[in-house]
Symmetry: D2
Subunit: 333 residues, 4 copies
């Protein structure tokens, strides 16, 4: 930590800070400048707590050099983590994966049709929501456990491992008994108890970035899962909330190469939720792979016009076939 003193700080105020640092068993390192004094804090093994410094007069700013996470950081774990979902490998250095399927499971027929279609076109994993977080309570909330059974059946029928969202802790056991990967949605990225419990289950986790989560918060959320002993975590960029509302969200593709440097956990991209418009999914999915994402997750519905949830952003089977063809064409680059 670096403590920047005010321009007008007195020597007595500086001394009080030095003494406080020593009192914590740490070593102060004053850096006298022309305009103000700064004091480095040495000897800490991790994040230094701000508390003891807060009420000391004369302090202008506390700058943390250590991050609030450690297990997810490449600094301490330089090798890529490969997450195994069913038999499918997801990792920075692996062949990119495509996760596809309907936003919500709406019926047995719908999810079976979707599974067949995405399998035929070459998807690696099947997605589908049985429990749906919706802005208002009057919208369709998902079929629940019934939907989960349909999804599981569709996954078996198409021989695709399945990814599905969990929203509450008491669902975990039952969902984990059939799902190959547990998704934590953007709105639950800082539902810390859910993160802890998901971490204890021991299944691969797909963690979506919160709508206004900084990358530091995103990585710190993943740290909750890893701290429970589970490092099988896939991070997913799905668009952030900005002042621009012409599109549903702003897909923040620059974070993919940034996170590649910062963490060993693989990052995939969900262009469907980010853009909210079918015609933008194809170009943005390609861009995601070009910037190095470990995979993409796209919504596919057998009949998007009748989707109960997020229809305007869902591809139909033909559209998905085309997407797969174009993604394959990217392989050489």
């Amino acid at each position: 930590m670096l403590i920047v003193m005010e321009h007008s700080a007195t020597q007595g105020q500086v001394d009080a800070v030095l003494e406080t640092i020593r009192g914590l068993g740490l070593t102060p390192q004053p850096i006298p400048g022309e305009n103000r004094v700064a004091i480095g804090v040495l000897g800490n093994q991790g994040y230094v707590d701000e508390a003891p410094f807060r009420d000391l007069p004369g302090i202008q700013e506390l700058i943390h050099v250590t991050k609030p996470y450690k297990l997810v950081s490449r600094d301490f774990h330089p090798e890529d983590t490969v997450v195994q979902v069913g038999g499918v490998r997801v990792g920075w250095g692996e062949k990119p994966v495509v996760i596809a399927g309907p936003c919500a499971v709406e019926s047995r027929e719908q999810v079976l049709a979707a599974a067949r279609a995405v399998k035929a076109a070459g998807a690696h994993l099947l997605r589908g929501g049985a429990f749906k977080p919706r802005t208002g309570p009057h919208a369709f909330q998902g079929l629940g456990y019934e939907g989960l059974e349909y999804l599981a059946e569709a996954g078996r029928a198409a021989a695709l491992p399945i990814v599905t969202e969990v929203m509450r802790i008491d669902q975990l056991e039952r969902v984990a008994s059939v799902a190959d990967c547990l998704q934590v949605g953007a709105r639950n990225m800082q539902n810390f108890d859910l993160l802890k419990e998901v971490g204890r289950v021991g299944k691969p986790v797909l963690l979506k970035r919160g709508m206004s989560a900084t990358l530091e918060e995103f990585l710190a959320a993943a740290e909750y899962i890893l701290l429970e002993g589970n490092s099988q975590v896939i991070l997913c960029e799905r668009g952030i909330r900005t002042f621009e509302r012409a599109l549903r969200n702003t897909l923040d593709l620059g974070v993919v190469p940034y996170l590649k440097g910062a963490t060993h956990l693989p990052v995939i991209v969900d262009p469907s939720h980010a853009l909210g418009r079918r015609d933008l999914v194809l170009p943005m999915a390609k861009a995601a792979l070009v910037v190095g994402a470990a995979g993409v997750m796209v919504e596919v519905h057998p009949d998007p016009g009748r989707a109960l949830c997020d229809g305007p952003q869902s591809l139909d089977p033909k559209g998905f076939e085309r997407l797969m063809a174009e993604l394959r064409a990217l392989a050489p680059v």
Copy 2:
């Protein structure tokens, strides 16, 4: 709903939209313009689902006129709701309430001292966190049920009803057995299952606005609670996330008079979390009352310099006394 057709939409495309509307048992009302046609949708009792229109060609935009909430709206419930916490009344037309106490319960002594201090200065409700949501798992997570007991004891000792945060569903029963008001934090504003279960408990609820929640989303989140039969909900503005990071968050005081027109539920303001700096709490708390808030919630710690959580924004007992004096001086205005 209003459907805006593209400039280049053909008559056939317009006809297909008209037919679809009629197929839903609704009435289309075409509005031919010079540049493009728009079509009003009449006869709906609530939110019109977009799904049937999504794949129709020639549509430029779907504009919803009906909001995704109804129970929280003043349109359908013009009279102010007064929430009763213990014996304390919270409502737009009521005397403003002051909720005060430590960010986190840290020890029996700390919360007892805080309770005595805030009571002496005139606070109406005692706050204190037993379960703390923290960005990273390495930070202090609260004392849990032990903290809850200390808080309950402090409330009894000072004769103050207590407000405390719940983070997971399986805590609800035990927390509700001692707390007078259940707080749902900003990070859980769209933890929809928690909202539903909190709604079923039947205790007053303090719902904080999510860090990047629009007012529509905020009200729709409250709608989840009201739909379970509980309209004893207090809304709390606590600062939003913007591009500006010099202060912790941007306190959005303009929403107070805005929400006064939009909802019958009372709105209070938490300047401590919003600003993150003790010296800004006092002026912003005063401003909150001046714009009409039904109350304020402020952090008070017997010794902020040793706080385990959010110390820099906590007032000490003397600072809180001064705050109360200045708030009282506002009463005539």
Copy 3:
């Protein structure tokens, strides 16, 4: 400046940084930590240029301790600056000023009527736009110099000093010959050439915060004016752009007490542009004074329903009278 080295930086990389610092005539101060090394840079008189460090391997981050401005900072100029507009004093410790008048000058009659009305109600300065920045070129762009003459006449008639916006450098001389204070609008806050030239004119300047300007950028923009020898600058918070679009902008009142600590220049608040709704102007204007603003600027139109620009946010004369009465009632607090 503080240079934070990467966890994996070698001693050779650290040495290269030390040598580079010494090569600039500055003094390096290494701060060895458990996880990484940081290096303080001492001896600089101002902002240290990043350039020489950019390509050195092993550097994780460069943290500036010195700000990109100096003249506007309270560190170097602790006493409040009082800006004198006509005979009216604007400053942190002064009686709050009220600047009022129409958004745009629309006719001789309109601005005369507005001037009389705001004078009668007790305003101190008259505002009115002759040159109007509008999002699209098809909207009313202001009456230009004709409007300026009307405004000047109205100011004389009502004995009120006038404030008006300048948009281009070649307007400066003529506008300055009649205006008592030159306004630089939010969209021009980083029109650096305009800032420089405005600084050279020697008239008081009202500088509005840009729609997405950080406080550091806001102060650095003012620094451009002060560097030309003109410290008669009033800063104006007018709402920032955030994800929330229910209101026109988010009025960021927390910056008022924050800036009071950071700069000697007075800060006023424009609630009319910030909120975009007449009914919110009154409560937010009161809140601005309560948090310590040196004044407020509000739009008043003799007949807001017929305003060519920003009618929905303009008060009518009766509304302004009420505002003045309520602001006066705040004086004791």
Copy 4:
């Protein structure tokens, strides 16, 4: 325009709105709903002014269906515009262009070296700033006209047309006499007088998106230029300001396919300014072309470590060669 009445609006209030619409020579079209009445406004040729409706009681919302621009819209001009800079064609259907060169012209040698390097690697246009907008006045502001001469010489030497920024109106004539394309920077996107004057010059214009400009504002800014009779405008996405500050800006690549549908003007992408980090420029430049951008603009400096401006985001000649090679490899996709 659509006028949405309040739930509680009386018939008299509805009638007043109908009458006002008729008074403007337009045709009202009431759309009675279950919860509220909406009224369509028919017969307008363009944007309907809100002013006459602002003070009418009972109105909840005014929704514009017509946009504040027309000339830039594909609705009224379906064919792609091809901008010709020197002999280089820039357009949606054209071969993507690469604009490269130093952020700022720092010396004759520097820009000559940069020009040679980018030409050798295959760039189509040379960029370089003679006039530099900088956050604070203490930073390097560019060499001015001296820099312009060096840039012109470098362009001639390398046989590359040149693109350079103009910051003030009185620079226009002189800059236009040597530059092939005039750049308007992000901070000046709403400097409307500059836009008008740039439009009158008759040279191709490169207009950068403002840091927090919505797409509607971006297109409306371009409309200012087209309205002066100049449709040779290239739009440039360069990253927007969001809550995330780990990277300099958030590159908003989704706008490229979105704008392709909305406007006939070509859109290019500047990944250097957006990301602010050299290592992210390459992947993001590739992504820009994959999503369909008409070109990219990248910063290249012969010796980025000694750059006076934006060094950390500048490629060196070797890095640029690699970028060109990777962009070429994308051609088949």
